[in-house]
Symmetry: C2
Subunit: 208 residues, 2 copies
C-alpha cells in the first residue's frame, strides 16, 4: 500500500510521449473507408487481434458499439451522417490521446467528412485505409441482404446504389479484398505500421 | 515480418477478459461528481499519474478534451446538459470496453443523469466518487472566478448558486478536500481500487 501523505505535487497530465513509452507503440487512427460489404470491419477486427497477439492494445470503433450507443440519437439524413462521422472522429482523437491504436470501420462515404477528421489529428496520426473492393463483389457478397433491399427501393440513399461514394484521393493504404486474402490484408497493414514505426519488430518477436 | 498468407481464421473481437490479462488491471469508470472547484479534475489527474507510475494506463475525460471536441455543439440548456453527460457516459463505456481505467471529471449535478450512466455499465464498472467539498470552500477557492460572476448574476444557472446540485445517495467513495490533502485523496482512491481488486499490489511493487 502506498502512503505518501506528506508529499504534495503539481498534478499534470500524463504526456503522449510517456504513454507511448509505457505502451510500446505510437498511437494513430486507422480509418477504414469503403462500401458496405467491402470488408472494413472484418479486416479491422483481424488487425486488432494480430496486434493483441503482439501484446499491443488497440480498439475497433464500429457500428456495433457506436450506432447503438453514442450515436443512437442520429438517423441517416445528410446532417446526421455528417454528425455521425464528426463524433466518431472526436472519439477516435480521445483514444489516440490515451495512446491507443484505434481502428474505425464506417462507410464514411464523403471526402469532406473524412478530411475533417484528418484535420483533427496530427499528420502522422491519421491513416486512411481505402478498402477498395469493387461494388460488384460487395453486392455479390451482400451478407446482410442490404444491396438487395436497396435495389428493390426498400432502402433509400444506400451508398453505391443511390448515394455516392467518394473514393479517397490519397489514402495511406488501399486494399482490394477481391484480390487478396484476409491474412494478406492484415499483413499489409501490419507491415505498414512497422515500416512507419508505429509498432516495432521487437513487439512481434517478444510475443510470438 | 509476419507472413502467414495461407492461414485463414474467423476474426473475433478481443474479449474483455483477454484485455484485462494483457493490461494487468480490471477496467472501470471513476465518475467524479461535485461542485465547481471541489477538486474533481485535480484528483482525477493525480490518480491518473499515480496509476501511470505503476505501469497502468488510464485516461481522464474532462472539460478540456470534451467540451471543445465531441460536445462542442452543446450548450448549457437542460436538454444539452443531459446530452452532455449521456455522451460522456457512452464514451466512458467505450474506454472501459477497450480495457482502460477511465476517470471522468464533470460537475454532473443531476442524479438521474449519473444513474443513467451507471445503468450503461456493469455493476462493478461504475465507481461514483463524490467530491464533497463544502460550497463555502469551493467558493472561497474560486480559481476561475466563476462563483463571483454567478453571484453578480453574470452567469445564470450556476450549480450551487442558482442551480441545484443533487448529491449522490450511495457513492462508492466520498472525498472532502477541505479535510485531507491531495495525496491523501489519491491514496483513498488507490486503496479502494486495490481493495476491490481493480489493481493489484503487484502493480505497485513491480514498478516503484
Amino acid at each position: 500500500m502506498i502512503k505518501s501523505q506528506n508529499i504534495t505535487w503539481q498534478p499534470t497530465k500524463v504526456t503522449k510521449a510517456a504513454r507511448q513509452n509505457l505502451l510500446g507503440h505510437k498511437p494513430a487512427v486507422l480509418w477504414f473507408t469503403g462500401l458496405s460489404g467491402s470488408g472494413k470491419s472484418t479486416i479491422a477486427m483481424a488487425v486488432e487481434k494480430r496486434l493483441f497477439e503482439r501484446g499491443l492494445n488497440s480498439y475497433v470503433l464500429d457500428g456495433d458499439n457506436i450506432r447503438f450507443g453514442l450515436n443512437q440519437n442520429l438517423g441517416f439524413t445528410a446532417t446526421d451522417r455528417q454528425e455521425n462521422i464528426r463524433r466518431i472522429g472526436e472519439v477516435a482523437k480521445l483514444f489516440v490521446d490515451a495512446g491507443t491504436i484505434t481502428l474505425t470501420a464506417f462507410i464514411s462515404p464523403y471526402r469532406a467528412d473524412r478530411d475533417q477528421v484528418r484535420a483533427l489529428l496530427a499528420a502522422d496520426e491519421f491513416i486512411e485505409v481505402f478498402v477498395d473492393t469493387p461494388l460488384a463483389v460487395c453486392e455479390q457478397r451482400d451478407v446482410k441482404q442490404l444491396y438487395a433491399k436497396a435495389r428493390r427501393g426498400e432502402i433509400k440513399g444506400f451508398t453505391g446504389v443511390d448515394a455516392p461514394y467518394e473514393a479517397p484521393l490519397k489514402p495511406e493504404l488501399t486494399i482490394d479484398t477481391s484480390q487478396q486474402s484476409l491474412a494478406q490484408s492484415v499483413d499489409q497493414i501490419i507491415d505498414y505500421l512497422q515500416a512507419k514505426q508505429y509498432i516495432t519488430a521487437a513487439n512481434a518477436e517478444s510475443q510470438l
